[in-house]
Symmetry: C2
Subunit: 527 residues, 2 copies
């Protein structure tokens, strides 16, 4: 079933010369299938097909788009065990995680299907004419959201389903009316091809134009660069490292026509443990956080990599229990050789920083591709002086910063880079006494959590997954939830346009029955 | 009343060494007042004050912000004749335009005041907890929009009131809760200082924190560069040339922490005259367009600089009448020496292009700072080959492109850069036969107009003023209308946050009585 080829529109192609294989972290060996990296001719063809497809797809009705999205979900389900097995063989993640992520992916697709079927998401806004207005007549203006054009989505190594081929970026782009070209992640190219086949089938079965989707294999950075620089590509979605995301952002900004790049990148997700929380529930939180830090071998963008507390016996106890608990956890293999390699070298770099102390590390023989958890600690003043200590170590790593006082804690928070999340652990009625801490943290993050863990990103409309740079390249958008569709659309106005030629969303009669703003009032009435 | 000094917060300061004067185009001489360019120390102080002010201003209630915005409008009105006289002496524009633009500016301020007083603009979204959900409980998540931080706004030379000191960018930023630092336009520094004094008074009278506003004089590009590169500046609004806007965009993108720049830049605003429109109403349209092209000496960003038609007798007649009509119009002085200089050199550059014919030019002695209108024409094939012909000539200039056929017309439209507007002039029931033309045009513009002129940008919620690059640097936002507030805000989530510590917009009780989305349903109910 997996061919190792690229989908250039609905055609499987492999004219390229470069090949590569994926890697099975469970067996610590390469998988058998040979993947052919997409050729320049194929890239060009995929973009041309997408450009043509856009002309049709942009006007496809919400109902038809919802059929397409739901059919993708059906076809992914129909892949059955082959998908789950391939997923596990390319990630080393357990079957339960594969099933959970598949469920999340399907939920996302169906959420967007519901959104576009209902249709009000286009933000239809109508200001009617006032021909008698003085001193000049008012013209009729009607606005709605239109798709930007072809979107390139980069597969994410840590979410082969939910943030990759048919993940959130893709679902949102299809819902918006944008064709999608996937730069498949090389380490789960098989999972990617299977999901791609589901999308291709769904597109065919629901009558979507050829070119609405392509899936490109690539083992290096060249394919991504060519896509981001292609004049017919209009937006980019990326989830991954700061280095990778920033490089794409820079490239897109330097184009003759700059395009938006929504890159969801690194984050250390600071957790502040306030005095009463440390005093009264320190041990409980320590146990909870031992789990959160090591969840999925720490390979979540919301992994708590930084814990900030006020120096003293209670924090010492918290650290003590955290150290005891974390070494009890069985380590697991990491996603692929690059990830484990980066984890090890980033850990080493951290350990070389003056003033950093290791307080817990796994004292046990495990395979060399297993993520060995580690807890470190550092004084607040040391942390403030050395921004290397602020950087993410992607994996089961966390650092406890022992602050001298609240002022130093606030200063540290204010000096952090932008983050996806910030968490505050507080005792009863304690939070209100730390409003400057809350304000400082709010200013640095996209989501703030009270007495919980940052891992676990609920897919819902109120979720913000994004944040000040470098959590994301544009904090004005979220990558999770139905509002993430806003990344791929632009508002467009029709002035004095004939009613019968307007899109249905803007016609007087409101044939879609959607909620619209007419002369400032929200209504489902006709004009 | 005008001091020539900078407002660094509420303090007038002039420690800088560089001075400059504004220019009166009516008398073709410099005005008397000496303006002192802001010093580096003053820039730093303005940014520090804004950073401190943000901590308070971000949480100021919608009602208090609306008082501030309405008071700014009141104080601008209270400036009375001095403002109008200064405006005219710095622009050469007639009193009627000054009054009209003041009215527009006040309308914008009051529109944003109404928006924030009502309060639903924050897009409050609540997903309630489901503690019993399987396999894992659902947490309570609540989202709303928060201000980005300090916004720098560049005064626009062609709109000293509506797109400058207290113009749309500033009003939107204040409404969002962002402090504003103005890089005043040097050619209307007096108008700028007067309006700044009105803002400072309004801020004081309504209890806004010092630093919520500063007004910086500058005659060159250095001040703007320092502001855009300052780490505490979080967003930029600009209206002006492509060269200027792109330079700021590049600078912002290259910062360690990139920030959004919304630059509304050049546009030639293509107008397509379809065969029946040329045949049946060609002379009428020619008269209308002679007026639109020369309105305000062509110094509008929506000026129709490009007219596309199908070669033949009807288009020839249209050109003939347009040529006759345009020379009847009395030219007026242009805004300032740089504008007239650029207009003359851009005209000359166009006239040097092979294949361009001048078909109407003013044959009359006028002062050398008057914008002499000119109409040119070129064959479609010539236009396609030479992108210099696609560039904007800011002033009373337009070019009629004579296309061989509909296919060439479509190709030309598809090859245009992004535009603020596109217009189609059509006969009865003619538009439906040109759907590929409409599609192509829609793809290149932010607003499409049927049987009208692009000049005249209605300030209303359905307006899109923006468009694909280079019309603007980010087509996903509009610079006009209340939705322009979205440029300066980001979504933010609170997870499991104590109800009493949530912002009012997200509290269970809905104390603001705003419209919110609770578990997917829009309602004003409490949770």
């Amino acid at each position: 079933m997996i061919t190792g080829k690229n989908y250039i529109g609905n055609v499987l192609a492999s004219t390229g010369k470069t090949t590569f294989k994926t890697f099975n972290p469970q067996t610590n060996t390469e998988n058998n299938t040979i993947y052919t990296e997409v050729s320049d001719v194929e890239i060009q063809k995929a973009v041309e097909l997408a450009t043509e497809a856009y002309k049709v797809f942009k006007d496809v009705s919400g109902i038809k788009k919802s059929e397409f999205l739901n059919k993708i979900a059906d076809e992914i389900e129909a892949l059955g065990d082959e998908l789950i097995k391939t997923y596990c063989s390319e990630t080393g993640l357990p079957k339960s995680r594969a099933l959970g992520e598949r469920g999340r992916t399907i939920f996302q697709l169906r959420s967007f299907a519901n959104l576009v079927k209902e249709g009000s998401w286009v933000e239809a806004t109508i200001d009617t004419a006032q021909p008698d207005r003085q001193p000049i007549p008012k013209v009729d203006i009607r606005k709605m959201m239109l798709p930007l054009g072809t979107v390139v989505v980069f597969g994410a190594s840590n979410f082969p389903l939910a943030y990759s081929t048919a993940g959130g970026d893709t679902a949102a782009a299809f819902a918006a009316g944008c064709p999608v070209i996937i730069k498949s992640h090389p380490m789960h190219a098989g999972t990617g091809e299977l999901v791609a086949s589901a999308i291709i089938k769904a597109a065919s079965k629901t009558g979507m134009p050829n070119g609405v989707f392509s899936n490109l294999n690539s083992s290096g950075i060249e394919v991504g660069i060519k896509l981001v620089q292609h004049p017919q590509v209009k937006a980019v979605g990326f989830t991954g490292s700061i280095r990778g995301g920033r490089a794409l952002y820079n490239m897109a900004a330097q184009r003759p026509e700059p395009i938006p790049v929504f890159a969801e990148m690194g984050s250390v997700n600071p957790v502040v443990i306030l005095p009463n929380a440390a005093k009264n529930k320190g041990a409980d939180w320590a146990k909870t956080y031992a789990g959160s830090i090591t969840l999925g071998s720490g390979q979540f963008c919301t992994n708590p990599g930084l814990i900030l507390g006020l120096k003293g016996d209670d924090l010492t106890n918290f650290i003590h229990v955290l150290s005891e608990e974390i070494v009890k956890i069985e380590p697991t293999c990491m996603l692929h050789p690059n990830i484990i390699g980066a984890y090890e070298s980033n850990k080493t770099k951290m350990q070389e920083q003056q003033g950093l102390k290791i307080i817990a590390t796994l004292n046990k023989d495990v395979a060399n591709n297993y993520g060995r958890q580690i807890i470190t600690t550092v004084e607040g003043v040391t942390f403030l002086k050395n921004t290397t200590l602020h950087q993410e170590v992607f994996g089961p790593f966390s650092m406890v910063v022992q602050c001298e006082n609240t002022a130093q804690l606030e200063e540290i928070i204010s000096n952090l880079e932008g983050q996806l999340t910030g968490t505050i652990l507080a005792g009863n009625n304690e939070l209100e006494n730390f409003s400057t801490i809350v304000d400082a943290l709010q200013n640095r993050v996209g989501r703030i959590i009270y007495n919980g863990v940052p891992t676990g990103v609920e897919v819902c409309q109120a979720m913000v997954h994004g944040g000040p740079y470098p959590a994301s390249t544009d904090s004005r958008f979220t990558a999770v939830g139905i509002n993430s569709i806003k990344r791929w659309v632009r508002p467009f106005s029709f002035q004095s346009w004939p009613n019968e030629l307007l899109p249905n969303a803007l016609k007087n009669e409101n044939p879609l029955g959607i909620s619209r703003v007419i002369d400032g009032k929200t209504t489902t009435d006709s004009v």
